[in-house]
């Protein structure tokens, strides 16, 4: 653990990513305390006010207001809840089904493995956003369905990572040893092998987070994700698209938020991968 932290700290990008992720998490958790207004409160008298550095800004709406007169800063802050929430639940969804499918495929092998992995190949063969749209079209647009759609689309990555590390681990001597001591399938794979596969999974979870947020924003932008008035960043982008010339901050700022959070998770994932890679660690 000490080793890990030492190696992780060497990577400045990763530390920055971690800080940004923590910051975003804090903002999301404390949204009601930080945000100056409710995200859905409409101020009729102040439509499309610019942010504070522009002329004609109103100091009480720091980042301006949108076309319906809602405070943009508050919406962005509440939006972090939605986006991080989606990311989190996508990862939970992925890990849950990814572990079940990956473990089954990796440990049993044979036709079970073939069936599961070909299914995953089919999912991978379709353009991910298209598949997500199909899923949402079937289930109907809502936040929960967004999570399910994005979860299904990104599931193959996790299943592959789990299966690959199970395949590596199951050839190791300690597995043969625990078999010879009479350990059951459950004991061998769930209790003994799985903890050895956690490192790549952690990395995958971090990337899964950013993937989830990005895909959910894309669905939101297409109007298939979170439904108004939920302050989801992708949905906000799409609503503000019409005003890209008259009120460019309405498009820029949510876009920037998505960018920062996604980059933060990617940096974190990279750092985790470098620090947890056994080849680097043992060297």
């Amino acid at each position: 653990m000490k080793d890990f932290w030492y190696l992780f700290r060497q990577n400045r990008g990763a530390v920055m990513g971690l800080c940004l992720v923590l910051l975003a998490a804090v903002i999301a958790l404390l949204a009601p305390l930080i945000a100056p207004f409710e995200p859905i409160t409409v101020f009729n008298e102040s439509l499309k006010l610019p942010p504070f550095w522009h002329d004609g800004a109103n100091g009480s709406y720091l980042l301006g207001t949108d076309d319906l007169g809602r405070d943009l800063l508050s919406r962005l802050i509440y939006g972090s809840r939605v986006s991080l929430g989606i990311g989190f639940f996508v990862v939970v969804f992925n890990l849950f089904f990814g572990l079940i499918l990956g473990l089954t495929a990796g440990s049993f092998g044979g036709w079970v493995d073939t069936v599961i992995m070909r299914l995953m190949d089919i999912i991978l063969a379709l353009p991910s956003i298209l598949l997500a749209i199909v899923v949402v079209a079937i289930l109907g647009p809502s936040l929960i369905n967004t999570v399910i759609a994005v979860g299904i689309v990104t599931l193959p990555n996790v299943v592959r990572v789990v299966r690959a590390s199970i395949l590596v681990e199951k050839k190791k001597n300690y597995v043969a040893a625990s078999k010879s001591f009479g350990a059951s399938w459950f004991r061998i794979y769930i209790l003994n092998v799985l903890p050895n596969c956690l490192a790549p999974l952690l990395v995958q979870a971090s990337f899964g987070f950013s993937d989830g947020i990005l895909n959910a924003a894309a669905l939101g932008f297409l109007g298939l994700g979170a439904q108004p008035p939920i302050p989801e960043w992708g949905t906000m982008l799409s609503d503000a698209r019409a005003y890209i010339e008259s009120a460019p901050w309405l498009v820029t700022l949510p876009g920037l938020c998505i960018l920062i959070v996604v980059i933060a998770f990617n940096l974190l994932g990279d750092g985790l991968r470098d620090a947890l890679d056994p080849k680097v660690k043992r060297a």
Partner: protein
């Protein structure tokens, strides 16, 4: 009735280059409290034999025929649950490379406690006491301080001691040691082997010692099987086999051992057995050793050679055994 009896075991492996016969016609028995040695070169079938006793062979293996009786019951006909109960409790095994045979994620205490929990349902304080006692039995100094140590913090010898502790935790009737000292240096090797002997006597276990080192086998076993190309080529009392080998292969193996003074002459070359182990996919006809045998006669290639009784308690798979008067 013997504690363990292996009858007519034939095992094939299907590989990308075709089916190979890994074990041919293996028969042996193991008595209670006995130490049996199995020697042979790499690929001679030693490890396959020991894994077969657990019914834990790789998935590409095909057991053509054979029965393995433990206390009179055929292990291969037991249900999966019975096999799980057998492994680790009645028969257990220690492996060649102790460092990689322990799970890197868990502490010593956890790994020993797993076997106790699975087979005896011991948990908590009673398990803790038992673990400390086991660690003491396998000669780990200051066991209390080793409980929470991870495998990477242990030396090779210590890891092997922990493996032995796991293996003997449920007082098995048979302990199989598959090259237990190959990965360790010579001084540790000696310690581990005498530990195994001590435990065998204390716990009245039978020991199967698999090795390619005849010296190790000679000192630590009562009876010896010499394997070549998946067949048992010689069987007998360890000392007798080593002093007077009857199969040319055993003799060849013994000549390959460096002696204490053999290096003193400058142009001394360690003898080797000419040729290589046959490709198990394309076996020679007749006696498996015939392409390499210095005593080869014409009819050695004709047909497979069965095991002959050459003396009392002594069998060899050779038409012209050495060191015996042909009175039989």
């Amino acid at each position: 009735m013997s504690l363990l009896q292996v009858k007519n075991l034939n095992i094939d492996f299907s590989t990308s280059t075709g089916v190979i016969q890994a074990l041919r016609d293996v028969n042996f028995r193991l008595e209670e409290g006995e130490a049996l040695g199995i020697v042979g070169e790499s690929g001679s079938g030693k490890s396959v034999t020991s894994l077969a006793l657990f019914d834990l062979l790789a998935s590409n293996s095909i057991v053509r025929s054979g029965e393995i009786f433990f206390k009179g019951r055929d292990i291969r006909k037991m249900s999966e649950a019975e096999k799980l109960k057998l492994r680790g409790a009645d028969i257990s095994m220690i492996f060649q490379d102790p460092m990689s045979s322990l799970n890197p994620c868990f502490t010593v205490e956890y790994q020993i406690s797993e076997v106790l929990k699975v087979h005896q349902g011991l948990t908590g304080a009673s398990a803790r006491d038992k673990i400390l006692e086991l660690l003491r039995q396998v000669g780990i100094p200051d066991p209390q301080s080793r409980l929470h140590v991870y495998p990477h913090e242990l030396s090779g010898g210590m890891s092997q001691r922990v493996m032995i502790a796991i293996a003997i935790a449920c007082s098995p009737k048979i302990l199989i040691a598959d090259e237990p000292t190959t990965a360790l240096d010579v001084t540790i090797q000696k310690q581990i082997l005498s530990l195994l002997q001590k435990l065998r006597k204390e716990k009245k276990m039978s020991l199967v010692l698999v090795s390619h080192d005849l010296g190790v086998i000679a000192q630590n076993t009562d009876r010896l099987l010499v394997m070549y190309a998946g067949e048992i080529v010689e069987e007998g009392d360890s000392m007798a086999v080593i002093q007077k080998p009857t199969h040319p292969y055993t003799e060849g193996l013994l000549q390959c051992l460096p002696g204490l003074h053999s290096h003193e002459s400058r142009d001394f070359r360690l003898p080797t057995i000419p040729g290589i182990v046959p490709n198990l996919g394309q076996r020679p006809s007749g006696c498996q050793l015939n392409p390499r045998c210095p005593y080869k006669k014409k009819n050695c290639e004709e047909k497979p050679v069965p095991l002959f009784q050459v003396q009392a308690n002594r069998e060899a798979r050779c038409l012209y055994p050495l060191n015996v008067e042909r009175s039989l």
